[in-house]
Amino acid sequence: MVPKTFQLSSTSNLKRGGATLPVMNASLGKEVLVRGCASRNGEDNRYAASFIKLADGTVQRLGQDVEGVFGTKIWR
């Protein structure tokens, strides 16, 4: 397993968007899928996250929509 670090929005934005602590904690230890951008400063395993698909299949937004894919089908 490789730890990966993701930069997210503030906790207040996350909570207001639905990504509350219980929602996120429900996926701890389970496989999730994060979509984001890799760091451009040369550091490995560091990303800025846009969305997360949680273990139950629901999707939460985590940060900037840098790809401009907001509202489109982006997961498979």
């Binding site: 990966k4 993701f6 698909k53 940060g63």
Partner: protein, 280 residues
């Protein structure tokens, strides 16, 4: 949403994950086993109704008290299902040297000049213009109290029309030397002697001659409107006035939450990025 970068500042999370970073086609390992899911914001941009007449204070002036979000929905619009339409505004009349300097700044340079990246005060007019978070305003006759969730900042302005501090006593302050008065139902906040680190908008630097005139009005119970004028004879060729920005009263009677700039890795990361880009 106008200040996308500001939302990506506060937290870092380490989870065992399968990353699809830089994978717009969804070609991560195991991609064939996944099903399409629509990812979108959670806030539908349904404008609030006017909500009733403008609440008024004991002296008959509009009462701006309440928790306010940018935009018309009465909710945080960071996660709106739709992008915010850009405001219609005149071009900013930068002097040629200032325009050249702005054009020479990379996106990283602009971010590194941001108060929200550096965890420094946003100042005037940044409390309104460089703040993507909720506002709480409390007004009473003679006083305007402004709290913002962004780093839990606050500012208090007397609204009794008192004059500015004498010129020989002025010192640079992030909020500046402020005075305010009413013109009809519009509150005019006048700020001078503003610290050069105070934020205007998106890397817009200014001089020690900055003069900010802010206007606030509450046309109905659910709406607040904000406009600002910038005078800066060292940077601009003439004064510039923004479009009116709409704020809406919290639809769910929300409170401001604790929000502090801690564990900030942004400055180090952006500096590393600048070094990487310049080395190429």
């Amino acid at each position: 949403m106008k200040t996308y970068i500001a939302f990506v500042l506060a937290a870092a999370l380490t989870l065992p994950i399968a990353a699809s970073a830089q994978d717009p086609a969804g070609a991560s390992p195991g991609a064939g086993n996944r099903t399409f899911v629509e990812a979108r914001g959670s806030v539908k941009p349904v404008p609030l109704p006017p909500g009733g007449p403008t609440p008024r204070m004991a002296d008959g002036k509009p009462d701006f008290s309440g928790v306010w979000f940018t935009g018309p929905t009465g909710k945080a619009n960071a996660w709106s299902t739709e992008r915010e339409a850009p405001r219609k505004e005149d071009p900013i009349p930068f002097q040629p040297w200032a325009e050249a300097k702005r054009k020479s700044m990379s996106r990283v340079d602009i971010e590194l000049s941001s108060a929200n990246v550096n965890c420094t005060p946003v100042g005037t007019p940044g409390m309104f213009t460089d703040n993507a978070y909720a506002h709480q305003i409390s007004t009473k006759p003679g006083q305007f109290i402004h709290l913002i969730e962004n780093n839990n900042r606050w500012n208090v302005v007397h609204t009794d029309g008192r004059p500015h501090t004498p010129k020989d006593e002025l010192e640079p302050l992030f909020y500046g030397d402020q005075t305010a008065h009413w013109e009809g139902d519009t509150l005019i906040i006048d700020s001078i002697s503003i610290d050069e680190r105070a934020q205007i908008r998106d890397g817009w630097f200014h001089s020690d001659q900055l003069h900010v005139i802010e206007r606030l009005r509450r046309p109905s119970k659910n709406y607040l409107e904000y406009q600002f004028t910038i005078e800066d004879p060292k940077v601009l060729t003439k004064p510039w006035t923004s479009g009116w920005e709409t704020l809406s009263l919290s639809a769910n009677n929300e409170d401001l939450t604790e929000n502090f700039c801690t564990n900030n890795e942004n400055v180090d990361q952006l500096r590393k990025l600048n070094e990487t880009l310049k080395a190429k």
